[in-house]
Point group: C2
Chain length 344, copies 2
DNA sequence: CCGCTTTTCGTAAGCGCTTCCATTCATTTT
DNA sequence: AAAATGAATGGAAGCGCTTACGAAAAGCGG
């Protein structure tokens, strides 16, 4: 239980602590003889020495740690992963980071929280923030001096790196697809529409597509709530309450869609025969849905990978150059949409 | 960008660094006058001081950090969360930890990996390991001197705390339910069956129930693969290949079930009319499946919460007392099972 | 006003590691 | 042969914080 420190190794190998440090870090400016290296390594193995990374960070000013902030879907709701999208994203982030020898410091976030706590405290080398946050909170982070990458946020500020997708274009693509299938009354269902968020862009894309086709965007055709399946069910009920006006819907998240489909089916509305749906994200389980979701596919794995890459690149290069990465989208056709000739 | 340290605060407040430390940690043995406290706090706020937790850990020997090890489902597969169960569990762990002022150091794990790296390195205060691992790897962790809790593992060793569920009983319950519904030929579908893992217990429960009902456990009725929906589909094909012998199945994970259901439906096998299924886990999305999954419900949130609780309790108390926590299970009836009179 | 207890605070010694700089030899160079 | 070079290592000063320990200030009964 006795922690073995670098000094113990030094003593065992009959060298100084600094020498041990040099061989362990293979410091390029220093040169240690083969023989000594071998002796040190033997001591390390014999004693089972593992360096204390806290101490290392303290003196070397970098921690090989990346802070990751993932939103709790809703304040008060503890389920950070009520949206499987986050799970998949985190998965990819973790995997990529680990490949590079980095670990993750994970924290969920409530809106009102002080993000500094996680980041500044532990001396992370960079921060990945996923989702949309009020600007003030982000500003505090800028003073941190470590690279910050925003995933899926439209905050425009050169202090941050960003990675996202063509939200607007994706939504337009989805909506247009529905229009091409003969639908004219198309609902828009999304999570909360907030400043700098993705949903506002997707809403614009939806509107654009409608307008381009000469269709009106009716207020009663837009549904907005939270990003979880509960809201999908709620939206289904609301759809009924509003009189089943639309024959199709563009939904901005697969989770919502799953709830929506369920809610609709429970009311004996058939998908896609009665209501066609194009969804968004293409999470791991969406081909498993019934019907399998026709959805805008985004490469979640790539998103996470790029996020990590951005942080690491920025952490390495000294001068700050703002970078931005937009991933492409594509529509994958499955079973939740069918042709429709509007009666009117 | 200039980091403000405790000394800066001390200077600003006109006191010594130790005094600042005392007020910040409200060290119980020391007593600082109200007035000084106020002065210090003002300086802290004015300078925007945030303590460097690395330094703190270094000198105080505790980090307010919990290491979390989550398995990559399959080696080579990067998707740690191909099973939504892990996402939900992590969610709960993160939330609970945060409530207690702890952060998470997250790492995925490959089988062959050296777990020490994450734990020992960073001086975590405890480790939560979810899933089943080869014993040798765990042994290395024992020397760590921090509490370790194993989630869903049947490794018997007083050095570890464990938290799990009544796997065997749950499986028995599920199988018996199917039998009560008139099924006699029941498949067992699970992820890999390995030593000390949950599936072996569930298999036993399945066997027990069958035996109790005087039914034979046929080798060709058991399917075992990986825990993801891809395997579910595979199992469906295998089911066909083996001649559609069973009228029901007990599946040990909802993700697998989703794949299985999909695969079966694609082959025009109706659920539950042709094949009834009782699943396991009751993940967030399982009521959304089509049909909604009749499944053994486990309280994933509670599991995560207890895991954290166990670590923290153990970290606080000096002497080691092995603790163990088994959570109850219950069957929730939904739509994937129906009555059946065996033809034979 | 004096010893004595309490309260309040500063000094200093680390925690385990990195890293600049100086030092010691063994080689070369001229 | 003396001077210059370079390779190989150790010394020591921190990184930013905690925490004995001890000293000074303050309260108090007599």
């Amino acid at each position: 239980m006795k922690r073995v420190s670098i000094k113990d190794v030094a003593k065992e190998a009959g060298v100084s602590a600094s020498t041990v440090s040099y061989v362990l870090n293979s410091t390029p400016t220093e040169t240690i003889s083969q023989e000594t290296q071998k002796r040190v390594m033997e001591a390390v193995n014999k004693l089972g020495y593992v360096p204390n990374l806290n101490a290392r960070s303290l003196s070397s000013r970098h921690s090989n740690l990346i802070g990751v902030l993932i939103p709790q879907t809703e304040p008060g709701k503890e389920l950070m992963f009520s949206n499987p999208f986050y799970g998949e994203l985190l998965s990819s982030i973790e995997y990529t980071a680990r490949q590079h020898g980095y670990h993750l410091l994970l924290s969920g976030t409530k809106e009102d929280q002080d993000y500094l706590s996680i980041a500044q405290n532990r001396g992370v080398d960079g921060v990945i923030i996923v989702g949309t946050y009020p600007g003030e909170n982000l500003n505090a982070l800028k003073t941190l001096g470590v690279p910050i990458v925003l995933v899926d946020s439209y905050v425009k500020d050169d202090a941050f790196h960003t990675i996202g997708i063509e939200d607007k274009e994706g939504a337009r693509m989805a909506t247009r697809y529905l229009i091409e299938k003969g639908h004219r009354r198309i609902a828009f269902v999304s999570g909360s529409i907030r400043e700098n968020g993705v949903n506002i862009k997707r809403y614009q894309g939806y509107c654009d597509a409608m307008r381009e086709a000469g269709l009106a965007v009716e207020e009663q055709a837009v549904y907005s709530g939270t990003v979880d399946y509960e809201y999908g069910i709620e939206a289904a009920n609301e759809f009924l309450a509003r009189g089943r006006k639309q024959t199709a819907a563009f939904v901005t998240a697969d989770v919502i869609t799953m709830g929506l489909v369920k809610g609709l089916q429970q009311n004996h509305i058939r998908i896609p025969e009665d209501v066609s749906i194009v969804s968004f994200d293409d999470v791991y389980l969406s081909p498993m849905a019934h019907p399998a979701l026709t959805t805008i596919h985004q490469d979640i794995g790539e998103k996470g990978k790029q996020a990590v890459q951005l942080v690491l690149d920025a952490a390495r290069s000294k001068e700050h150059h703002h970078s931005e990465c937009i991933l492409p989208l594509r529509l994958v056709e499955r079973e939740s949409v069918c042709e429709r000739r509007e009666k009117s």
